[in-house]
Structures are given as structure tokens and as C-alpha cells.
Amino acid sequence: MLRITLTSAWQHRRRLFGTVLAVVLGTAFLVGTLVLSDTLRGSFRSVFTDVNAGISVVIRGQGGGQVGDITAQRPLVDTAILDDLHGVDGIAAAEPEIEALAQVVGADGVSIGGQGPPTLGVNWIHDPGLAPYDLVEGRAPAAPGEVAIDTETAEAGALAVGETATVRTPAPIEVEIVGLLTPKGGASAGVTITAFTADEAQQLLLGRGDRATRILLAADGGTSDEELAVRVSELLPDGVEAVTGAVYTDEALDDLGRDFLDFFEAFLLVFAAIALLVATFSIYNTFSITVAQRLRESALLRALGASRRQVLASVLLEAVITGLVASVLGLVVGIGLASGLLGALGRFGLPVEGASLVVGVRAAAAAFAVGVGVTIVASLLPAYRASRVAPLAALRDVAVDRSDQSRIRLAIGLVLLAIGGVFVTLALVVDGGALERAAIGAVAVSVGVFLLGPVTARPMTAVVAGPVQRLRGVTGALARRNAVRNPRRTASTSSALMVGVGIVTLFTVVAGSINATIEDAVDGSFGGDLIVQSGGFSGAGLSPQIVDELRDLPEVDGVLGLGLGVGSIDGQQSVFSLVDPPALEGMLDLEVVEGSVYDLPGDGIAISQSHVEEDGLRLGDVIEIQLVDGTVLEQRVAAIFVSQAADAVGTRLVPIEAYAPHATQLGYISVMVALADGVSLEQGQTAVESVAANHGSPDVFDRGAFTERAVGDVDQLLAIVYVLLALAIVIALMGITNTLSLSVHERTREIGLLRALGQTRSQLRAMVRWESVIVALFGTATGLVLGTFLGWVFVRAIAADEGFGVFAAPVGQLALVVALGALVGVLAALRPARRAARLDVLTAIATE
């Protein structure tokens, strides 16, 4: 039996080719992702280990933590500790490290970096073992006004040693570049570094001369890091801790993992999963057809005495072999993919140069588990069907592929659809937990739609094919008949595309809705006439000076700076907006329910209605905010407003005067400007930009441009998602090609007859092509309807949970999706159509 299976698999290798390819692409994506992220982890680890190699012990403040996307800083440490360390044995070197944000402005007046990786402002560390960088040109900064910057920033800003430049801390200051440095390990990963003298760094970046971000110690030869850490710990005041360099490195890696690598990996894995899901449908379909076409073969085996289990095992074994071959290929292709992408990532400054690919057990195991697993799962049902064939079928001239629709399947499909409907309705009607209910409903509806495919295939194809038939006469009619002659096959062929298109549509609709929401909510995030925003989110922010400078402009009537504060409220790290309350007036139209926002006192806080409802707060209550420096702000609730979730001000408003004394670096995220009467938008923009030019040229948007940019960000992300989904569409396309090839093979005699009767080659090709297009459009239409529906459900569910969100289906983009579906049909038909046209008429019609 084993030999029969192997021989049979080998003889059918051409049919299995499509299956293998689908699995290869899916697993390659998976392996590529895992290898890439393992490699990045490995190279980041080696870089971090290199950089921190000379650090034995780090002394730092306790506390800090993660608030959403923001890592709250640890409290600063008192540099007086350095004096206490003088007497400690085993210390070879001790230096303070000061680390904050400072953004270099290039020769063209535009800030450099800040699009993600931090723009670091640091002190020059003299000990080469403790310093995370090496000096490569010039000298170390020795006096106020002198800096060393990293070579990549110098290159990007066209700056050289000996030149003066502006650094924003965030207040713009003039500096002289005296040296160039490179990070240890070589790659900057996009991080920019500006090193001042320690004194200046303390003044500029921390606002006081007796503090440091942390203190770095190097142990002498005779003392281990752990010993030194213990020894030092005894001398430290409360709230300050000492950890070894190894711990420090691990933490940094964990942070990086959380902030970047884990997200990067999870993001890609989602799309690998989608590709594999589509591949599963495609493989299931191929196996169904090959099993159906071999039903007589299976029946003969049964007649000759093979047991059901043996037939079942024979199909499954074929699946395992297919899966194994595909997994090996997928592993190889995936590693190739990763190495290709690694090169591309190197161009973004990631430390990948010379990094060797890390092919971990994880990646290899995943390749085999998923490759073989997916193939087996997809072949289970067809294998079961093959084993059910009656031995007598070998003797009868059975109609090989029964296209009758299973009642059970119909029933389950309808039940799932009903369950899905109930959950969706509950999600939209009942308060709370909408998203969870919507998700359950979405899964039920999707599976239901898939199960009902064979039932919907006939009517849906009739609708889709109507115009084809009218347009292409008998060719169209034949194509349509061929498409519906086996509804189950049509349904499962198109279901791969349905999944792909459904997900594309879902993303498109959700993105469209987000954009519509952004446009709708622009009132909440855009005040006045113009808004100044620093380009990225990891830059130095906007200096408070800019607010004053703008206010001095004759063209300007009002200016509102919007900052972000971090602190612990009720033991939870929280963010809150910082404003100068009177400046709010006439700028942001807040719906105030109680109290007054515009004359919020210094010890006041304005909170949104949601805090009233959820936390039971009332006007006059005191909220304690613990800041990183240990101070506790006591702010009395002086106003309650209704916030929209997309509002720029969030849910808590604190006067900036309360926060400023405790901030190490005070910067605004955005500054809104109201123009004076009679000043045109163009005049105002010119004036504001002239001020902005002294602050690293942040963007100045009017209302339209602001919306456009926000929408553009979403569209950019959507474009990346589209690229990643392309693979799933390609796999679906190959699935259709595969089915079509098998169908053409099955219909050899029909095709011969048609050719004998006078069907031209081009008519024959058109017939196959239109069949493909009809099947593809069926899948596309189902996917489109399903995706739009799910998108609507999710948007509405989010709206129900969060209280905002507008549903919008971008018609133009969805029309493109339909066109894409048709194109998939045309492309999928290329090979089968060519093959059909090449069939020898004579062999096709020759009587047996």
C-alpha cells in the first residue's frame, strides 16, 4: 500500500504542484518572518552587548513604567552619589549619564530624525569603556556650546566638524560641532545622538545641575559585576537602585522587543496566517478534485481488498509527503526571503550589516508543523470521502464528482449564519462588550457564508455571469455553464479568493471609516486656523518659546500649545494634556458640562464626563498625580467636559504651570494658531512658517492639509497592508489556476468535441478565461459583501464601545477590488486556457 501511494503521488506530481506551491508560499512567509525577527533580535543583542560591554553596574532611580506607547522615565538620580562612591573598592570608573531628547536641525533648517527612533541628547562620557559610542573625528565637547554628533546625522544634515548648527532641546540653541561619533556596534538604527558636556547637558536637558539620568560604573579587574552592585547598593538612598550591566542590557532588549520587534513580528505573522488560511482553502480544493478524479482508482483498491483505513491512510500519506516537500521548500525560500529583507532593513539603519541569519529551532519547527499541518487538515475531508467510496464504484461508470449539496452542510451553514446574526445584533443593541460579541458574530457569519458557498454559487454566478453571456454569446454561455456545473467545486475554488478579498475589503472599509472618522472629528483635534506640528513623534517636541514668538506676530490672534504630561494616578501610569487654560478660549470648542475650563486655576484639573461616570468623580474632588520626580500634584476638579475620543485634549486637562516646574524637558506636541481678523490663510501660513523656521521647520498645516495628512497616514498603513495581503491573493489565484487545469483535464473530450464542431482556439481560450473570471468574480463578490458587512459590524461595534466612529465604504477602492478580482480570473486562466487550446482535437474525440 505504501508503494502504491508513493507511486501514485509521484505520477500525480503535476497535480500536486499547485498544492506544493501554495504551501511553500505560505510557510516561506512564516519562516521569513520568524528568521528575520530572530536575526534582528540576535543582532540587536550583540550590538547592545557590545555597547554595554564596559558597563558593570548601573545606578538609577526606581519606578517608571509603561503607559500605552509611552515609557515613563525613571526618576533622576542625584549626582552627589558619585562623591559617596569614591571610597568604594573595585570601581575603575564612574560617570553620570544624561539622556533626554535633542534634535539637530540640518543645514537646510529642517529637523533631522524623529520619525520613530529617538533623537537623543546626551552628555559626553569620557571613559571609552562606559561610553556607548566612539569618537571618529574631531574631539570631545569640552566647553558649553560644543557638541559631538553622530556621523549619520551629520551626513543627513550636511553638517561637518567646525560648523555651527541648531539643536532643539526643544528650545533652539546654537552649537558648534567639534566631533563626530559613531555608536558602538556600527549601526545607529535611526537613533540620532547629540553629546554635550555633562554640565551643559544637565542644564539644557534636565533643567538642574545636580541630577543625571543614571550613573555608570566600571568594575576593576578583581571585582565581579554582581559583587560591585551589592557593594554599591548599600550606599544608595531610598528610591535609587544598582543593577548589573547584564540586567541593564536585558532590560533594554526587552524594551526594544516590546516597542518594536514583538510588534513587527506579530504584524507580519498575522499576514502569514492569512496567507496560510487562503492556502488551506486552496489545498482542500485541489485534494477534493484529485480525490474525486481518482475515485475509481480508490474503488478498485477497495474492490481488491484494501480497507477503508488503508485508502484513508493513502490519501493522508500523500498529503504528508506533499506537506513535507513543501515545508522543506518553504523553509529554504523563507530563509532566502529573510536574507533579502535583511538587506533592505539595513538601509533603514538597523544593525544588520554582517549579521548572520539566525535560523532557530522555532522557525524550522514552525515550517514543518505548519506546512505539514495545513496540508493534512486540508486533506482530511477529501481523504475521508475517498475512503467512503463503495468498491462497486470501480465497476460502474460512476459520475465521479457528485455535486449534490449536503443537507447537513446547508443546515450548519444556516445555523451559523443565524448565530452570527444574533451576536452581531446583540453587539449593536446591548451596551458594553460590543467588540467581543461582534468578533464571535463575525467568525460565525464567515464560516456560515463559506459553508453556504455551494448553495449561493448557482444564483450568484448567474448574476455575475449574466453580462458575460450577453457580451460573449455562446462562449459566455458555455463559460457560465461550466462555472456552475459543479457548485461545490466552484464554491471551494472561489472561497480562497473570498477570504483574500474579504480581508482586503475589511481593511479597506475599516481604513475608510477611520479616515471618515478623522475628517468628522477634525473639530476636536484642530483648533484655530493653523496648526504647527513637529514632523515625527520621537522628536524633541516644540519649544514653549514658539508659543511666545507666534503670539508676538501681528497676524496672530491666539496661540494654544498642547503638551503631554505623564504621571501616576491611583497607582496607574496615566497621560494627561497640558495647556495654558485661557488660551483654550476660542480655540478648541470644548463642550463644558460643569465648571469652567478657561479659568482653570493652577491647582485645578478638567476631566471628561467619562471619568465622572467610571470613577465617580465630582466637581471639587482632588486628584493626586505622582510625577516621576516624586512630587505629588494635588489637582482639584474644576471643570467637567464631554470629550470625543479623537479629541486632541484627551480626557484630562492640567494647567501647564502646575506641571512645568517638575518637567525635565517641556515641549509641545502641537501648537494651534488663530489668525487675526483680515489675515488671509496664506499670509498667516507664511508668517507662522517664518517663526517655525527657527525651530527646525516643523510642519504648518491648515485645516485641509491637517486632515489630509492624518488620512494620508492611514492610507500609507493601508498600502503596506495591501502589499502583505498580495501574497494571499496570489495563492488564491494559483488555487483557481489549479482547479481550472484539473477541470480542463477532466473535460478533454468536451473540448475536443467543441473544437471539432468549429470552436476556434481563441473562442476556446475565451471560454476558459470567462469561466475563470466568473469563478473569481463570484469569490470577489462574496468576499466584498462579507468584508463590507464585517467592516460595518466592527466599526459600529467600536462606535458602540467607544462612542465614536463613522462607517464609510470607499466606493472607488472597492470598485478597484472588483476589478482586481476580475484580473485574478484572467491571470488564473492563462495557463489552463493555453493548455486547453493546445489539446489535440483527435485524441480528445477519439473513441475508446
Binding site: 454569446g473 455562446v474 473530450r749 464542431l757 476556434t760 482556439r761 474525440i845 473513441t847
Partner: protein, 287 residues
């Protein structure tokens, strides 16, 4: 050889004007000039394969298929009868020699032109698998016209359908028709486009004798009533008995012809099958 007074030894359709089609057209000797042959082959050679394994399916055969007549081609398996039909019908190219449909030399045509020729000027009835399972009987009948984009002449369509007795079966799919009905649909399809020649390849091979007789009767009527030219490949002497003339093939050559055949005469000739190989073609068909 004298024409048998018994024209049909098999049950035939009792159509009124069936009286004596052959009487109306004086049976010509096969060597007699034909006004306009519907199809012909000259020195046709067809070799399959190469070298040692090559098979000479047609060995320099020359035949003319007279227009408006029912010609049967008989011969043992491997005699080249199907190959001759395929080559005459433009389904298979010759190795050497020439074939014509009317005045059109098939050797000069490319695949596209051959396809159009088949579609417009030739009708086919095959032994089995004649119909597209996805199309109704009506759609199958009009398929050759539909491939050009033409609508059938409604009167002619009705006449043909009437003749083959399918009027109440037009909406059925092939799977809902009996084998005989399926072949009748095939005959109707072959006639509906009024082709120059209808080629029938063992049209009754898969039918019981009653259904077979019906189908043969229709082909006969097509010749008698409508002046259709029919060429039928068969190994069934009874089927051959419906023809106006039988061509006997052996080893890729025309070995004998029999005008005005009936089953007995065909059988008799068949019996001496091996014998007349040496005899010159045409000899046996002298009246």
C-alpha cells in the same frame, strides 16, 4: 454486380418519398465522373509515429465523395477508415497527398481556417460523447451556429427537429435523454447548419438496433429529402446497407466499392474481405 431488388433488408422509415431515391439518381459506377464531389482525397498518405514504430494508416488512397449521396466507409480495425474520415474532415493533417472539401484544399489551411471550415461546411456525428452535458438539446443543436454568432433559420430548425422527432425534448439536458435520443440530437446538430458534408463516425456503435435504425433512417432521409451529403464510417454491415455506396478499406487503401448495397451484399463482400485486396479498386462495383 446487379442491384438488389430488395433495397433495404433492415427496418426502414416509412416516409412517403423514400420510394426509390436510388432510382431517381441512376446509380453511377464509382469510376463514372461525378459532377461535383463534396469531398475528395488524392494520393492521401498518413503515417503515425516514426521509424520502426511508424504506422502507415493511409497508403496513397484516392477517393471522391459524391455530393448529395450517402457514402459508407467500411473496413476492419486499423484499415484507416477513421483516419480517412478525420483527414477528409480537416481534423487531422495528411503526411502527403491532398484532400478537398468542395474546391477547398485543406492542405492550404491553417488551424484557424480549418476550424472555420469545420464549423461552416461540415457536420459531425460521433459514436459517443456527441453532446455537451451542460447544454440543453436545443442549445446543442444550434451550437455550431452559435459559435459563429448566427441564429438558426427557424423554419429549417423546426423541420430538422421535426424529422428527428425531438420537438418535445428540446429543453432537456443530455443526461435526461436516452442514448438514441442523444444521437438524434447529434444528427439534428449536424444538419441544422446545412453543411456541405456530414461525417458520421460509427454513429450507431453505442445504440441498440432499434435506435440505430432510427438514426440511420434520419441520415438516409437527410440525403433523400434534403440532398445532404453524408459520409459514414462503420463496421456494421447493416448500417452500411443504408448507404448509396460502400467503400471498402484495408491497410490504408481502397480495396473495393459496392454501389447500392444491402446488408447481405455487404456481408458477402465482407466475407471475401481479405481476398480482394489485390483487386483494383472499382472493379467490384461494376454494375
Amino acid at each position: 454486380m446487379v442491384r438488389s431488388p430488395v433495397r433495404r433488408s433492415v427496418p426502414s422509415m416509412d416516409t412517403p418519398d423514400q420510394a426509390s431515391p436510388n432510382a431517381a439518381t441512376p446509380a453511377p459506377a464509382a469510376t463514372a465522373p461525378v459532377a461535383r464531389p463534396a469531398a475528395r482525397a488524392v494520393d492521401a498518405v498518413k503515417i503515425y509515429g516514426r521509424g520502426d514504430t511508424s504506422v502507415r494508416a493511409l497508403d496513397g488512397i484516392s477517393v471522391e465523395i459524391p455530393a448529395g449521396r450517402f457514402t459508407a466507409i467500411m473496413g476492419p480495425s486499423g484499415s484507416g477508415k477513421s483516419t480517412l474520415m478525420h483527414c477528409l474532415a480537416g481534423l487531422d493533417p495528411l503526411t502527403s497527398g491532398q484532400t478537398w472539401i468542395g474546391e477547398v484544399s485543406l492542405a492550404d489551411l491553417n488551424d484557424q481556417q480549418l476550424t472555420v471550415l469545420r464549423r461552416d461546411r461540415i457536420g459531425f456525428v460521433f459514436q459517443a460523447f456527441n453532446l455537451l452535458p451542460t447544454l440543453t438539446a436545443r442549445e446543442n443543436i444550434t451550437l455550431p451556429l452559435a459559435l459563429v454568432g448566427d441564429d438558426p433559420d427557424p423554419d429549417w430548425f423546426d423541420t430538422v427537429v421535426e424529422v428527428v422527432g425531438l420537438a418535445d425534448r428540446l429543453g432537456h439536458r443530455p443526461s435526461e435523454l436516452s442514448g438514441g435520443q442523444q444521437q438524434r440530437v447529434a444528427v439534428a446538430r449536424a444538419l441544422v447548419s446545412r453543411p456541405d458534408v456530414v461525417f458520421a463516425d460509427e454513429p450507431t456503435g453505442n445504440l441498440d438496433s432499434r435506435s440505430g435504425a432510427e438514426v440511420l433512417g434520419f441520415l438516409r432521409r437527410a440525403v433523400d429529402d434534403f440532398g445532404q451529403t453524408v459520409v459514414m464510417v462503420t463496421h456494421d454491415p447493416i448500417a452500411a446497407g443504408y448507404a448509396d455506396e460502400v467503400l471498402f478499406l484495408a491497410d490504408g487503401r481502397l480495396v473495393d466499392r459496392l454501389a447500392d448495397p444491402d446488408a447481405e451484399k455487404v456481408l458477402a463482400r465482407w466475407a471475401q474481405g481479405e481476398d480482394p485486396v489485390g483487386s483494383a479498386p472499382g472493379e467490384g462495383s461494376t454494375a
